[in-house]
């Protein structure tokens, strides 16, 4: 849990940044994992999972849907170039944010390799995904959570950290996780900035109960603002839209909750909110 992060942050925490060289890898996208790493004095370790095929040999290798130009570079070569570019971008951003960056290259199934990485080093890891897979996103995260005891959270990188009107938004769905989520939000917030709490409840009674708990927990703590939002009554995507309208700079939510529910909803939420979403166990 993210609680472990906060408690063990003095030591060897790590943000594992899964780079897909063929997807978007810009300084804006990278800002979220770097901010997270800096908030916890952690380092970033990138991992590029190489699934390249050997085009030169006898392996039956087919390209589909590619531009049929005669001088298309081999996939492996292109992959290599793109991976280098991504790493360079991360290093530049790391220098700017004064965060240490390491790189790792793996081959084979991405989930397996990341699981192995997280198991090798601890005590905590946050896996950052530069892009949310439209299909099977939940299965990736589920697999990692199931396989890796050291993976404490996931960060879906958004690209709109600047010009946001609200600071860090915490979607509260149970009182048990709230303290740890608040600590994470506090670290991610700018000094003196308020943390916005959104009660993610489907019914009015549940909403009142959660709000009561949240107010008790935050009574003499940080500057916390309760968003004036009622229950969602189970309307799909309602919470996503509410949070998207708030234009937060960072969202902390529980993975598998009702607010950011299944895999499809996860990718929809990431697309609509456009801000980085830190998902805790």
């Amino acid at each position: 849990m993210i609680t472990h992060v906060a408690e063990a942050s003095e030591l060897s925490g790590r943000v594992v940044l899964w780079l897909d060289p063929e997807s978007r890898c810009t300084p804006t996208v990278l800002e979220a994992p770097l901010r997270l790493a800096r908030a916890y004095d952690a380092e970033i370790e990138t991992i590029v999972v190489d699934q390249r095929a050997d085009e030169s040999g006898e392996v039956p290798f087919r390209r589909i849907g590619h531009v049929s130009l005669p001088d298309v570079p081999p996939v492996a070569y292109r992959f290599q170039l793109l991976a280098q570019r991504c790493r360079r971008t991360v290093e530049d951003a790391g220098r700017t944010h004064k965060v240490k960056v390491r790189h790792a290259l793996a081959q084979g199934d991405a989930v397996d390799r990341i699981s192995e990485m997280c198991l090798m080093r601890g005590p905590w890891n946050i896996v950052a995904l530069t892009g949310t897979p439209a299909v099977g996103g939940q299965s990736v995260i589920n697999s990692l959570l199931a396989n890796v005891s050291g993976a404490t959270g996931f960060l879906l990188c958004g690209d709109a950290l600047k010009n946001r009107k609200t600071g860090v938004v915490v979607i509260v769905e149970d009182g048990e996780r709230l303290p740890s989520m608040l600590r994470a939000a506090e670290r991610l917030s700018l000094p003196g900035a308020a943390i916005h709490l959104v009660i993610g409840a489907e019914t009015a009674a549940e909403h009142a109960d959660l709000e009561h708990q949240a107010r008790l927990l935050t009574a003499d703590a940080l500057p916390v603002v309760f968003a004036p939002i009622g229950p969602t009554f189970g309307v799909p995507g309602a919470m996503t839209e509410i949070v998207a309208r708030m234009k937060p700079s960072f969202v902390v939510a529980r993975f598998g909750g009702t607010a950011v529910a299944d895999g499809r909803e996860l990718s929809r939420a990431s697309a609509a909110i456009q801000a980085p979403i830190l998902l805790v166990r």
Binding site: E22, S56, P60, R62, R63, I64, A134, A271
Partner: protein
């Protein structure tokens, strides 16, 4: 000495002012006797030259004598008889202007024109006559007097599905201007609202979700094949612009040396699997553009909804105000459609395409009942759809449309000088429809609208012959022909009538009123010009009266008097201008 011979020859033509001599002293005597009993005696004048007869020759002689006496001082004044004190002349009542149009002796023609102007629209009028007979002024005056039923106004809206067409909508008379103003205001508001909506969080989120939907549908289409491939140890790897199929073992793509070591049967089996999957994947990838196309339809629907949300509130109020008039409701619907369609295809450009164009009275101009065409060209006559300074479609109505159901007066010589304009006009007369032209750089075909105005063609024989030569048979469009005479017999135009007409002419042109003594002079001049008949040339008479008015003005006279006219005639005989 030639001067004196010419003068005497011209004097023979100049009417004698016997009446003035007889009347003016008598009137002055009476007035003087009346004044002498009431007013103190006037001081004796310093000059002994008294001009009682305002003859030009006498004036000149008096001036010469006075000049010689004052400059040389050598000629003594011989006439030292006591001079009567000057008496303030009392001017007689001026000639009353004729109540009828000032065209003299054209009673039959005037009557004919009146009947023609009161005929149904579409029966055009041809007024034939010599230049200077007052055809244009007569046509303008008679047309202005004629009452016409108002015709419908028209507005244009660029159609949604055919952006090259400007569809015409008939609007009840007098409502087009207000309607177009209201519609333009509604479109302006809607444009602002549309921009606001498209920048709103709601719209942004919808678009983001739509993009996500496209991505999801694309990946979902491939996902099934991917799973089946993985179950057969074939990797489907997404790359930047497509997919790669390769054999896989224990979660990793097989290296070539490993693959080489495989048994031949297994190799063939893997290749067969890959070939099968390749075909499937290719067929799926081929359908991905359809997915994107469906998504683009959703995008269009989203923008359409946003556009409707922007424009509906304004148009609902307008529709409510005109709910009884189906043609207005149809026009408003067309504007709504055009706005929505163009918004989905081009954002702000949409508002331009939706801009309604007022046919009859654009830019606040009131439709005029009588339009006299001063500049003739196809564009001037038919109008043009072009672009305004802001780049929006704009309609500049032609003279035929501006007249509405009134009259369009055109001089034939202008048309004869521009055969293109005459062709355009004759086409309108034949079809009875006006089709505005498309401006440079625009391909908009406007719907024709009915010609509601009556064309009054002012022509002389040569011009009319030219026009008929250009468009043979065009005379059938002018069922009413009125011919103005250039001269009439003395019996048909007595002096009194002529002078009243002249007084009307002077009055219409803001000249001084005519003294009664003027009548015989101008009448005699008209008879002289008519060669024994009375000339009906208004232009010549007007020029004479203008000259005489200038002379009277120089003399501070309040009326044009016989002496002024005489002097004007003398000036004209000398070839001078006052």
């Amino acid at each position: 000495m030639v001067f004196w011979r010419n003068r005497s020859a011209k004097k023979a033509d100049t009417p004698v002012v016997a009446e003035e001599r007889a009347v003016e002293p008598a009137a002055q005597t009476e007035a003087a006797s009346a004044q002498s009993s009431k007013t103190p005696p006037q001081p004796i004048p310093q000059t002994n030259v008294v001009t009682l007869v305002t003859s030009r020759l006498a004036d000149r002689l008096a001036d010469r004598l006075a000049g010689v006496a004052t400059t040389a001082g050598q000629i003594e004044v011989q006439d030292t008889k006591t001079i009567k004190p000057p008496q303030v002349p009392t001017e007689p009542s001026p000639i009353a202007p004729s109540a009828q149009p000032h065209v003299f002796g054209q009673k039959r023609a005037v009557e004919k024109i009146r009947v023609a102007l009161n005929a149904k629209p579409g029966e055009h009028v041809l007024i034939l006559g010599e230049p200077g007979t007052g055809r244009l002024a007569l046509a303008e005056e008679l047309a202005a007097e004629t009452a016409r039923n108002a015709a419908d106004d028209w507005i244009y809206v660029i159609e949604r599905h055919t952006p090259t067409r400007a569809k015409a909508f008939a609007i009840p008379h007098g409502k087009a201007g207000d309607l177009v103003r209201d519609l333009r205001a509604a479109i302006d508001k809607a444009t602002v609202a549309f921009e606001r909506h498209t920048k709103s969080d709601e719209h942004r989120i919808s678009l983001d979700l739509l993009e996500e939907e496209i991505r999801y549908l694309g990946d979902k289409a491939v996902d099934e094949v991917r799973r089946r491939a993985e179950s057969q140890n074939i990797a489907v790897v997404k790359s930047l612009d497509g997919y790669v199929l390769a054999p896989m073992h224990e979660g990793r793509v097989v290296r070539s040396d490993v693959f080489r070591a495989l048994p031949e049967a297994l190799k063939r089996n893997v290749e067969a699997k890959i070939t099968t999957l390749e075909g499937e994947l290719q067929s799926i990838v081929a359908t991905l553009p359809n997915v994107e196309f469906e998504a683009s339809e959703k995008y269009e629907a989203l923008v359409r909804q946003t556009a409707l949300r922007a424009i509906r509130p304004s148009l609902v109020a307008l529709k409510g105000a005109h709910e009884d008039d189906q043609s207005i409701v149809a026009a408003i619907d067309a504007v709504e459609d055009a706005f929505v369609a163009s918004s989905t295809s081009g954002g702000a450009a949409g508002a331009q395409a939706a801009m309604p164009l007022n046919l009859a009275a654009d830019d606040g101009d009131e439709a005029r009942k009588v339009v006299t065409v001063r500049h003739v060209s196809p564009v001037e006559l038919l109008g043009e759809i072009g672009r305004d300074a802001l780049g929006r479609p704009a309609h500049v109505p032609g003279q035929l449309a501006r007249a509405g159901s009134g009259f369009v007066i055109i001089e034939a010589w202008r048309l004869a000088a521009d055969p293109m304009a005459w062709s355009a006009l004759s086409a309108v007369l034949a079809s009875r429809e006006i089709t505005p032209l498309s401006g440079p750089g625009l391909s908009i075909k406007a719907d024709p609208v009915p010609l509601a105005a009556t064309v009054i063609l002012i022509a002389d024989e040569p011009s009319w012959s030219k026009l008929e030569a250009i468009e043979p048979g065009v005379g059938r469009h002018f069922p009413h022909v009125a011919k103005l005479s250039s001269a009439v017999a003395l019996a048909d135009m007595p002096e009194v009538e002529y002078s009243m007409g002249a007084a009307r002419l002077a009055s219409d042109h803001a000249l001084r009123p005519l003294a009664p003594s003027v009548a015989p002079i101008i009448y005699k001049d008209a008879v002289r010009r008519g060669g024994g008949r009375v000339s009906l040339s208004c232009t010549t008479l007007l020029h004479l009266l203008k000259d005489a008015d200038a002379v009277a003005g120089a003399r501070d006279a309040t009326q044009i008097r016989a002496s002024d006219v005489t002097e004007a005639l003398a000036h004209r005989a000398d070839g001078e201008t006052p």
